[in-house]
Amino acid sequence: MALTHEDVRKIATLARLRFSPEEEAKLTGQLAKIVDYIDQLQAYEVAEPEAPSQGARELEDRPHECLPREKLLANAPASMDAFLLVPEVKGGGGGDA
């Protein structure tokens, strides 16, 4: 398929990324070329996935010690007591750069 600027803007909004017009132009060209290449997959035979052979084992559900909260919160850009701090939740322009 031919990827357009509009597609790229829509995907960027979904991905929570912003691009300058120059970045967007370059990225559209690069992604279009990659998607073109990936389109060759339509020509290959497929098989139905069987039982997952790369799946997870079921582990016994046992309580164990957690990492200390202070240690984890020490990595937060902003926190107060036991909470992460963020700016106002309402508002925001989203993807429109």
Binding site: A15, E23, V35, Q42, V46, N75, P77, L84, G91
Partner: protein
């Protein structure tokens, strides 16, 4: 007499355990070597000399007290910067993790420590392990010790360059589509991508969870086998880590490969690449045959689709895994935003580099409504086909062989503006990743420019012992000099 930094992992540990040399002497030799080579290759993001000296001293105390510090006693090791070491910075070579400090230690790293290894630093990588040249690091490009104008490969470019240059005898990388094997190949080293589930990923920053594996990079096959044994095995903290018992890979590694069937994949015929890789490949097949292997032709028609399948599946998983980097819980937060949505957009747009953004975009696209079936669904279907074909090939043969890479190390800057060309260098490594097979890259000689070339051996799930045995037999045939000449020793360094 070789310098201590030139010793193999096995020999280093043997001497330290036996009290012939101290871990401190080994470490000082490696640190001196590092001081000499690091300004040229830039393999590290951080070197923690003092802490390493403390650990080495502790190993020596234990030896003096009659204890055995373990199979990696006193072995200096470099850790790729996506592996957690409690209390140390962890960046994945990304700006978005600026200031992040690992709050715990990865299981694989814990096992290295328990075996007596001495971590010396955080090694450079492509940002979030996305890349094949180490040029996508937000901090610095790493250079190939064999030719400072060339890339070391990626994404584990720092770990590979560090070992190739003699800074350390062992490093830990991670391989999602070839990120241990390709840099090992380009730097003339042995690189291991274990079976999916062989090594715990607790403490590894996730990129593509259905293929990520941690694996060792070393100068010879025995060292790689010994090190994998240390880090492999079940872990209650990672439910994707398999319960299969871990073999002693050194037992039987010297037994040779008489009568063993090595599958040659018709669709991966490197003759069509031409040039030194094709010529080296023919010689590699001769060497396998003269070691006693029976060469059998196998067919994997979906092989040519591997890169396309990989760049759909890995980017889809990456777009989900990297959603957690949003400036809220850890890492870098954009100071500008006055509401939460803008905080996400600003932090991610400022924090991620171009290749990471490209892959998040590609994965988001392939998972988006209207395209999911055509891209992700299709890729999963072709992947299942590939799994069936490779499983059948591994019934007709005991192992499969291909070159590791379609070319020797390329020049820095050569492919930075052409992501697709960069992706295509993963053509031989992605199938084992997608299907979860063990695969080892082993040096196969050099091209006419003196750059290393490499053979890849793939095996059945949890068949690492057989893969190592083939690689060891091949290594003996190649007669690879374990300590190649680098930099100053080749007379290239400025006086």
């Amino acid at each position: 007499m070789p310098e201590l930094w030139e010793l193999s992992v096995e020999e280093t540990a043997r001497r330290v355990r036996g009290g012939e040399v101290s871990a401190a002497e080994v470490l000082e030799s490696c640190l001196a070597r590092t001081a000499h080579v690091e300004p040229l290759i830039a393999a590290y993001l951080e070197i923690f000399e003092d802490e390493a000296r403390g650990r080495a001293a502790e190993i020596d105390r234990r030896v003096a007290a009659g204890e055995d510090p373990g199979p990696l006693a006193g072995v200096p090791v470099a850790l790729k910067d996506n592996l957690s070491l409690d209390g140390h910075a962890l960046t994945c070579a990304s700006r978005i993790l600026t200031g992040y400090v690992a709050p715990y230690t990865a299981t694989a790293v814990e096992r290295l420590l328990a075996a007596g290894a001495v971590p010396v630093g955080r090694a450079n990588m492509d940002e979030f392990a996305m890349g094949s040249s180490c040029e996508n690091s937000a901090y610095q490009p790493t250079r190939n010790p064999w030719d400072l104008r060339a890339v070391p490969g990626g994404s584990s470019g720092g770990p590979a360059a560090a070992v190739a240059a003699g800074s350390v005898p062992l490093s830990m990388g991670t391989d999602t589509g070839g990120s241990v094997r390709q840099p090992a190949a380009l730097c003339g080293l042995v690189g291991v991508k274990p079976t999916y589930g062989r090594v715990s990923r607790y403490g590894l920053v996730a990129f593509a969870s259905s293929t990520d594996q941690i694996g060792p990079i070393a100068r010879n096959v025995r060292d790689a086998a010994l090190s994998l044994r240390v880090i492999a095995g079940a872990d209650p903290r990672d439910s994707t880590c398999a319960a299969e018992p871990v073999e002693d890979y050194l037992t039987g590694i010297e037994e040779g490969i008489a009568g063993l069937r090595v599958g040659v994949i018709r669709e991966a015929d490197p003759a069509r690449l031409g040039g030194p890789v094709a010529e080296n490949w023919r010689r590699s097949l001769d060497r396998l045959a003269s070691a006693g292997a029976e060469l059998v032709e196998v067919s994997v028609p979906s092989l040519d689709a591997a890169v396309a399948v990989y760049y759909v599946i890995a980017t889809c998983e990456a777009s989900a895994n990297l959603a957690r980097f949003d400036g809220v819980r850890y890492g870098d937060r954009s100071p500008e935003a006055d509401n939460l949505i803008d905080l996400y957009f600003d932090s991610r747009s400022e924090g991620f580099g171009p290749e990471v953004k490209r892959r998040i975009m590609l994965g988001t696209f392939a998972l988006s409504s209207g395209y999911y079936e055509a891209y992700y669904g299709r890729a999963r279907g072709v992947l299942e086909r590939m799994r069936q074909e490779l499983t059948a090939a591994l019934e007709a043969a005991d192992v499969l062989a291909t070159p590791t890479t379609p070319s020797a190390a390329f020049r820095i800057g050569e492919k930075v503006d052409d992501p697709l060309a960069m992706y295509l260098s993963d053509v031989f490594t992605t199938p084992a990743s997608l299907v979860g097979l063990p695969a080892v890259a082993v040096p196969s000689g050099m091209d006419e420019q003196g750059l290393p070339l490499s053979l890849q051996v793939m095996g059945r799930p949890f068949g690492e012992a057989t893969v190592f045995r083939v690689c060891r037999a091949f290594e003996r045939e190649v007669g690879w000099a374990v300590a190649p000449k680098f930099l100053g020793e080749r007379g290239e360094e400025a006086a």
